[in-house]
């Protein structure tokens, strides 16, 4: 098989998702977001067709595919202008972590719902005082008999109001040594002592951002995912898919903007010719096409490495893909708006709202600067700078 081409099944999956998403589109997405409404009907439709569960193991009702398949679904939705942000966390991070590290009971309990999209789980890692520094996380789980008591704060957590539970990155205290070790807990969104407040954002998105407060939230023993102390490997198992999904989100939005711009410059006539005949407009769009395709290729490579079980190589590729995809997306939105003139900022053309949406890709889920740090240190062997 040609490693540089996607399988016939992957291509068919893309087509099926694109066809379904075309029935929703940017207008649907923007309308819902402006009205403060959710896109749960699109989510349910996607779930019903098994598109949200493509990467969940078959024995739990999923498609038995990989992150590459899930990333393709995410990208095609964004390309249609109606991305589902929670795909990045619920099926990509949470389902992956539970499928790889959860106990049998946790898998039985959660995975079938991830497979058909009927269960949504948010993911929380970022803290007010520990942004990119996962080692400074202070949210802590303490033993209380068989139970856990969870205390701490999280911020910029997506879609908590739409989720049934949140996968919380925390630490546990080793009773003997007092050392803190990373651990992941599933916390129901209605747990006593758990409060969440929306953060006002200037983003056009049906999914909202939240600050979370955990005040001695009592959790049963089985809320801890996998083994105590196995946390860091588990965490990174979930973060590489997150980056691959974020990259796909960006390339999808990039393709959306590029398609809009291309259609526009072909038909918009000024001075008696379509404006696309002017190289000043044609070349930037051609550059963007190249940048987006390169980012897509790296994203697919990262997914292929991850699905082949090479976590280390996937980590480097996923970082590079996320970086390249976010840059390509920001650039193409800027160019697409320029090509549209005043129309580029009109609601009708659906581009201005992408300025913030694609810009977020440079920050989340890991900042451009942290990716560059990673590449400088791990890929080039330069001294650690942070």
């Amino acid at each position: 098989m040609n490693p540089y081409a996607e399988s016939a099944e992957r291509v068919a999956l893309r087509k099926a998702v694109a066809d379904l998403a075309a029935g929703y589109g940017r207008g649907y997405f923007s309308e819902r977001a402006r009205a403060g409404e959710k896109t749960t009907d699109l989510w349910a439709d996607m779930g019903k067709h098994g598109y949200l569960g493509v990467a969940v193991p078959e024995e739990y009702g999923g498609g038995g595919g990989g992150i590459g398949d899930l990333a393709a679904v995410c990208e095609e939705l964004a390309t249609a202008g109606c991305p589902l942000l929670l795909m990045v966390v619920s099926p990509a991070i949470c389902a992956t972590v539970i499928a790889r590290f959860g106990t049998d009971e946790q898998k039985q309990r959660w995975l079938p719902g991830f497979a058909d999209g009927t269960r949504t789980m948010a993911f929380s890692i970022t803290e007010p005082d520990a942004g990119s520094n996962a080692h400074k996380i202070t949210t802590t789980g303490r033993r209380d008999g068989d139970d856990w008591l969870l205390t701490g704060r999280k911020t910029y957590i997506s879609g908590v109001d739409e989720a049934e539970s949140v996968l919380v990155v925390a630490r546990t205290e080793d009773a003997r040594t007092g050392r803190l070790q990373p651990a992941l807990f599933v916390v129901p969104t209605d747990a006593p002592g758990f409060e969440w407040k929306p953060i006002a954002m200037d983003l056009l998105s049906p999914e909202r951002q939240f600050t979370l407060f955990f005040d001695d939230v009592r959790l049963p023993a089985n809320a801890l995912v996998g083994a105590e102390g196995a946390g860091i490997a588990q965490l990174f198992a979930g973060l590489n898919p997150e980056r691959i999904m974020a990259a796909s989100f960006s390339t999808g939005l990039g393709r959306f903007a590029l398609r809009r711009a291309t259609e526009y410059v072909k038909t918009r006539e000024v001075f008696g010719a379509p404006i696309g005949s002017h190289q000043a407009l044609a070349h930037p769009l051609a550059q963007s096409h190249i940048e987006i395709e390169l980012a897509r290729l790296m994203t697919q490579r990262a997914a292929a490495l991850y699905d082949a079980g090479d976590d280390a190589a996937a980590g480097e590729a996923a970082n590079m893909a996320k970086y390249a995809a976010a840059e390509a997306a920001c650039t193409v939105v800027d160019r697409a708006i320029q090509a549209h003139g005043g129309n580029g900022l009109a609601s009708e053309y659906g581009l201005a709202s992408l300025l913030a949406a694609t810009r977020a890709g440079r920050i989340a889920p890991v900042s451009r600067e942290m990716v560059l740090n990673f590449v400088a240190m791990h890929s080039l062997g330069l001294p650690k700078s942070y």
Binding site: E9, A12, L13, A16, D19, H49, V54, G65
Partner: protein, 266 residues
């Protein structure tokens, strides 16, 4: 209930469709092809009927006559949920008209029936490229069974099929018993999108490829030379002319009426 669905691989109607300069047949090389959108309704209807008959072991066989790429139309149908495929493929078929196509479909259906009896043959209401709508009727004639065309709502009870047909002036509901050739309209259902499991499962579903020799059809009965009609010339449609823009200065309605009357629309 066993159902055979006849599907056609056609050039994408949203693309730039052309005729071949040499023999004025449809250019299938230069444009993307796909399962005719109108045939998706036939596949969906067959799947719904088989799924509704709980417990009985019905199968949907999807049949196409067409060039090598026509396998895509079978694959899409299998991804939607059809059980197996038959592809009638032979270089001599190129340029076949509706009469020859119906002959090939009929012989293939007889061959399918020799293995396991079929109850229903379902076709789309027309192909999106030729759009003649005559193949279902020709097929029924060749198979010697009843035909009901342009069905908009289908229900099956035992071996009785009830079909609603929406005409310009009246709606009729007719009943027919199997075996039957049925064509369905784009009002009959909402074709499903292939699920991920459907896409993966389609890889393993059996597809047989039959030649003219396999069907026992002589080459001289099909193809361009045997066609009853001949295309002498074809020309690209002229580009659409700019429309008339009526600026409403208080008399918009009157001017619209004037325009429509001038064009004899009203």
């Amino acid at each position: 209930m066993n159902i055979v669905v006849c599907v056609k691989y056609v050039p994408d109607a949203t693309g730039d469709r052309r005729f071949n300069d040499a023999d004025h047949t449809v250019d299938r090389v230069g444009v993307d092809g796909l399962l005719s959108e109108l045939d998706e309704y036939a596949v969906e209807e067959a799947l719904k009927i088989v799924e509704a008959s709980d417990g009985s072991e019905g199968e949907v066989t999807v049949l196409t006559v067409g060039p090598e790429q026509a396998a895509d139309a079978i694959r899409k149908s299998l991804q939607m949920g059809a059980h197996k495929g038959v592809h009638v493929l032979d270089d001599a078929i190129h340029g076949s008209d509706a009469a020859a196509t119906s002959l090939l479909l009929a012989e293939a259906i007889k061959k399918v029936g020799a293995e396991s009896a079929w109850d229903l043959v379902i076709c789309g209401m027309a192909s999106t490229d030729g759009s003649m709508s005559v193949v279902p009727a020709m097929l029924a004639e060749r198979l010697g069974v009843a035909q009901v065309t342009f069905g908009s709502e289908i229900s099956v009870t035992g071996d009785m099929v009830s079909i609603r047909r929406d005409g310009d002036t009246a709606t009729e509901t007719v009943e027919a018993s199997t075996p039957l050739v049925l064509s369905v309209t784009d009002q009959s259902n909402e074709p499903r999108y292939p699920s991920f499991k459907g896409i993966m499962a389609a890889k393993k579903k059996p597809v047989e490829t039959w030649s003219l020799a396999d069907l026992g059809v002589p080459a001289e009965q099909v193809g361009l030379a045997a066609a009853w009609t001949k295309v002498d010339a074809s020309a690209a449609r002229p580009p659409r002319e700019a429309g008339t823009i009526v600026t409403d200065e208080g008399d918009g309605a009157a001017r619209l009426v004037e325009f429509l009357a001038g064009q004899k629309f009203i």
